[in-house]
């Protein structure tokens, strides 16, 4: 384990202890993680207002639960992500398909790049939607939420090695889905011109 990581862990432990002691400490924890939890929620619900409601409820839960948290050497953020995952699931259960999306989410990848890039992104996004939920989630955690391997392992309650294996499998399935789709498109184009 690197020195930097050790120091990071000691810092996290001290932060947890301060947050358990009083409002000022909890405020520090809020400041350290609110944006990441909000961004996590935003990427899954696609609307700022909903994402902020979810982030607020995550920290309400955290405030209630924190006296009972014991330091186990795992990143604090992983605990918060697990609460957030439950809240996002609650939201979808309650919304029953009646989901609001900010325009941003769909327009997120436009810009100066060429049309091919935009199409690549769109194809990947479509393929992601067809993956199983656990494959989709680990890819999101790694590439969009930008969690470290250790954080992913803590969120998913598995070993670091297992996190690597799961991510690898998920990527392979995503690639297979994309290739399959590409073949379909080619066939459609050929038929179209034939």
């Amino acid at each position: 384990m690197s020195v930097a990581t050790d120091r990071g862990r000691r810092g996290e432990r001290a932060l947890l202890e301060r947050a358990q002691k009083g409002a000022a400490g909890f405020g520090e924890l809020f400041d350290a993680y609110y944006d990441r939890i909000y961004a996590y929620a935003y990427r899954r619900v696609g609307a700022r207002v909903v994402a902020e409601d979810i982030a607020a409820s995550v920290f309400e839960d955290a405030l209630r639960g924190i006296p009972r948290v014991r330091w186990q050497g795992k990143p604090i953020i992983a605990w918060l992500y697990r609460i957030a995952a439950r809240r996002v699931a609650d939201y979808y259960r309650a919304a029953r398909g009646d989901v609001v999306l900010d325009d941003d989410v769909r327009a997120a990848d436009d810009g100066l790049e060429g049309i091919e890039v935009a199409e690549d992104y769109a194809a990947v996004r479509r393929a992601l939607e067809t993956l199983g939920a656990s494959d989709r989630e680990i890819i999101r955690l790694a590439f969009f939420d930008e969690l470290s391997g250790a954080e992913i392992a803590a969120v998913l309650h598995c070993t670091l090695n297992n996190a690597y294996v799961r991510l690898h499998r998920a990527l392979k399935r995503l690639k297979a889905t994309l290739e399959h789709e590409e073949r379909q498109v080619h066939r459609a184009v050929e038929v179209g011109h034939g």
Partner: protein, 230 residues
């Protein structure tokens, strides 16, 4: 922070080691991983707008104390709690008004609630009815000083229906000559019943003292079926 880019992402980027390891084991994935990394970097998250308001509300609620009292077989139990958990349990009073008045003396700014969170009432009622042996309720330890905390934590390890002496607690916390200080710390227990200071008695089997009066101590120990030397 650059304009036009999300400032909601406080991290520097994805875990390079994680990505490298996946690609190293499977070069066929390199281009897909590249695309996903770009997508991740470019996916924009709008700035949160409510952060300050949410923070203020949260921290205020964490400091806010709530009071209530509810009737049980042994009288009106008072509770003071905040977002962290129970701060004070007031031993039974004859009426709700008595209980609230005594709590308000200690917490003049607290908000009086119609009822306590359901699990608090349920666990205490079950205990008083003899149907519960231990509690799983959040407690706010933040205003309890370290020595008293150690004493109360040691008292919490005494099993339901058993008793230990003041000296036993003193030894448990590594202060064998502090039996008197232990007695004082237990006497000032802010959360009796849940933190079972009633299970601590004199080493000769006499009851010692109790903030709620000895009859209540006897009642609680009998409820638990403890062997009493009376």
């Amino acid at each position: 922070m650059k304009s036009g880019k999300s400032t909601a992402q406080s991290r520097l980027g994805m875990d390079k080691e994680l990505i490298e390891r996946v690609v190293k084991n499977d070069a066929a994935l390199a281009s897909l991983v590249g695309t996903l990394s770009q997508m991740g970097r470019r996916a924009r998250v709008p700035m949160p707008e409510q952060r300050a308001a949410i923070r203020a509300r949260l921290l205020q609620s964490s400091a806010e104390t709530n009071l209530t009292a509810f009737e049980t077989r042994i009288g009106w139990i008072g509770l003071a709690w905040n977002a962290r958990g129970i701060v004070t349990l007031l031993l039974p009073r004859p009426t709700r008004a008595h209980a609230l008045r005594d709590l308000q003396r200690e917490y003049p700014d607290a908000i009086v609630r119609e009822r306590a969170p359901a699990e608090m009432v349920r666990e205490l009622e079950e205990y008083v009815e003899g149907q519960r042996r231990s509690f799983d309720l959040p407690l706010d330890w933040s205003s309890i000083k370290p020595f008293q905390r150690a004493v109360l934590q040691a008292a919490s390890t005494i099993p339901f229906g058993e008793t230990r002496s003041y000296g036993w607690i003193a030894r448990q916390i590594g202060k064998p000559r502090a039996a008197r200080a232990v007695g004082r710390a237990l006497g000032a227990n802010p959360i009796p019943i849940i933190l079972p200071c009633h299970r601590v008695i004199n080493s000769n089997g006499e009851l010692g003292g109790y903030g709620g009066g000895l009859p209540l101590k006897v009642k609680l120990l009998r409820l638990e079926g403890a062997a009493l030397n009376l």
